[in-house]
């Protein structure tokens, strides 16, 4: 969309935010459904919804065609999602549109029978100005924690997105995190040489210790293998000593 243009279709401004623009472009020669793609070449699912909502109700628009022009064929699942969007806080809708959330990112909301239960969480997602990835992860965890009846999943104490995500993970994956923490303690308690940098990590369905050692020539590599062998021997000695 050009900022110096006011796009008009049959006297209706399609980008009213540019009403003071110096030039007008009449789009009367094309259907209104197609006119949107000229004005806004890229729109997210929520963006299209908001755009259509702002238009006068008297306009008989084939909304399916508008969604299709942006690559969203309105199947049963998307139609179901469209019934949910009007019930969401406007700040969350704005955030979803700005961050181009996909319908899949929003599908977790379909599991809730009473959407108002997550209102505060949705408002917090937008107020924290989270990235799309972090916001989508938090959204799914919030929904799941609410369904699990851990209503304290709600935001209250989290000040940042990362902090909130960690709190939600603690509630959603308590057993795995407990087991990770026990394994971590056990692994870190092993007799590691001080030259190794150790970091506990979860990579998908596995968790473990990342061991880093910086090597700039072959001799250091030999030293690394030697230290590693020593560590293994120490572990073996320790485990033999254990009654």
């Amino acid at each position: 969309m050009r900022n110096d243009l006011l796009y008009v279709w049959n006297s209706i401004p399609l980008n009213p935010q540019n009403s003071l623009a110096p030039k007008r472009l009449e789009l009367d020669s094309i259907d209104i459904e197609d006119a949107f793609s000229v004005v806004y070449p890229h729109q997210s699912f929520c963006g299209i919804y908001q755009m259509l909502e702002k238009l006068p109700k008297s306009l008989a628009i084939n909304s399916s065609r508008v969604y299709e022009n942006y690559g969203y064929a309105l199947d049963s699942k998307l139609e179901q999602l469209l019934t949910v969007l009007p019930k969401l806080p406007s700040t969350f809708l704005n955030w979803s549109a700005e961050h181009s959330l996909s319908p899949r990112d929003l599908f977790p909301l379909l599991s809730l029978t009473i959407l108002q239960t997550v209102d505060e969480d949705l408002k917090k997602i937008s107020s924290l100005a989270l990235s799309r990835n972090l916001g989508a992860q938090i959204l799914e965890l919030v929904v799941e924690c609410h369904l699990l009846s851990t209503s304290e999943a709600s935001t209250v104490s989290a000040n940042t997105g990362d902090e909130w995500l960690q709190q939600l993970k603690m509630k959603r994956y308590p057993q795995t995190l407990l087991s990770d923490s026990e394994k971590q303690k056990k692994m870190l308690a092993l007799p590691w040489p001080k030259d190794f940098q150790l970091r506990w990590q979860r990579q998908g369905d596995r968790s473990g210790l990342e061991i880093k050692f910086f090597v700039s020539h072959e001799k250091e590599l030999l030293k690394f293998t030697h230290l590693l062998q020593q560590t293994i021997q120490n572990i073996e000695v320790n485990s033999n000593d254990t009654p």
Partner: protein
């Protein structure tokens, strides 16, 4: 209630495509279903569902039966045949789509896109395709299963396809046919002479999981009783303890399951028992949550995205569950043959100490095999 009564009650509509009207299956439907439930259609039946199914559409698809001819290939490679997974050379023969039972974890929820239960009426074409394949691979050992996209036997009282399939495999000793089911309908199989290369297998789980997650399926006791009848009749039988589902009493329940199997069967009665842990595509979470809420051990499970892209339990938990079950079987009798289904080589090594290709008693199942037409299953 007879099995046919139960099937008749299960479906609210039966649509028969014109091209399938003269098939024996269509004729049987006219005898089984009341006329008000049956409609003859040209093309596909009308539904309000468009594109990706909503949770509600999916549930409804189990109540609408559609008989049609399958235009494509029936014979495909098992989805387990992927890079990064140890595959057991399994091929699938899809004689329909959708299952009349409703397990909370069912992968069809993220796999199917047809708003009805389909049964293909042109089984003769499926058999010619198999015959063609057999002509060029008669000396290879091939396992063909019919229970990947439908349950092999739950609708057999209606289709009677088991007869044609058993008869086809009867004179093909190098090839094995596997029926995989969670039902207990075996009367059709018992009505004909058994063939030793036909395996009737059951997916089994502790009764607690059957009740909480495997809705509309036969009880564990009924499945085991049906297996015993098939065994006594001369069929091979097998069990798939799959998916193993973590729950509060998992250890006790799976140990009891092993004991129950051991008390009713001997290792020589079964060519193998397969074990697989709960797994699903990440996009399946939405539909499962919508359909079953979080009051399910499946939806509330702590799952993580694995390297294959599927959601799985933490690897150490999977290993612990597998080791517990395998160890119990081995304690009961070392001769039990157990293998892991759709698992990574790392899990194989950590659980059993070796890759399957190196294990004497199951090596033959994992010998790589090349068949040109083997494809990844696709749904039209």
């Amino acid at each position: 209630m007879t099995p046919l009564d139960s099937i008749s009650k299960k479906f609210t509509t039966v649509s028969i495509e014109k091209v399938a009207l003269n098939s024996p299956l269509a004729q049987r439907c006219f005898n089984v279903f009341p006329p008000e439930k049956i409609e003859v259609v040209e093309g596909k039946p009308t539904t309000f569902s468009k594109g990706h199914m909503s949770a509600q559409d999916y549930t409804l698809s189990k109540k609408r039966l559609f008989l049609t001819e399958h235009p494509g290939h029936f014979f495909k490679r098992c989805p387990g045949a992927k890079k990064g997974l140890a595959c057991c050379n399994y091929y699938v023969l899809n004689l329909g789509q959708q299952c009349d039972m409703d397990c909370s974890y069912c992968y069809l929820q993220s796999f199917l896109n047809t708003p009805y239960t389909v049964i293909y009426t042109n089984i003769d074409k499926a058999l010619s395709e198999l015959a063609e394949m057999y002509d060029s691979h008669s000396s290879s050992r091939v396992r063909v299963g019919t229970g990947e996209v439908v349950d092999s036997l739950s609708l057999d009282p209606l289709t009677n396809y088991s007869h044609a399939l058993v008869d086809f495999f009867r004179d093909k000793p190098n090839w094995n046919l596997e029926f995989k089911t969670k039902s207990s309908y075996v009367e059709n199989l018992l009505a004909i002479p058994a063939s030793p290369n036909v395996i009737v297998s059951w997916s089994i789980n502790p009764q607690y999981i059957v009740e909480t997650e495997e809705h509309g399926t036969a009880s564990l006791a009924d499945r085991l009783a049906a297996a015993k009848r098939c065994l006594d009749h001369g069929y091979q039988i097998a069990f798939h303890i799959d998916p193993v589902i973590w729950h509060t009493n998992w250890k006790q329940n799976y140990l009891e399951l092993a004991e129950t199997i051991h008390s009713q069967f001997r290792p020589q009665d079964l060519p193998y028992i397969s074990l697989g842990a709960l797994r699903f595509q990440s996009e399946q979470r939405d539909i499962m949550r919508e359909r079953f809420g979080m009051n399910s051990w499946v939806t509330r499970a702590e799952m993580f995205k694995s390297t294959s892209g599927k959601m799985r339990y933490d690897q150490s938990l999977r290993e612990e569950m597998f080791q517990t079950i395998i160890q119990k079987f081995k304690e009961l009798d070392r001769k039990w043959k157990i293998f892991l289904c759709m698992e990574t080589p790392e899990t194989w090594v950590n659980t059993t100490g070796q890759l399957p290709y190196k294990q004497e008693n199951i090596r033959s199942l994992f010998k790589p095999l090349q068949i040109e037409r083997a494809e990844t299953p696709t749904i039209n």
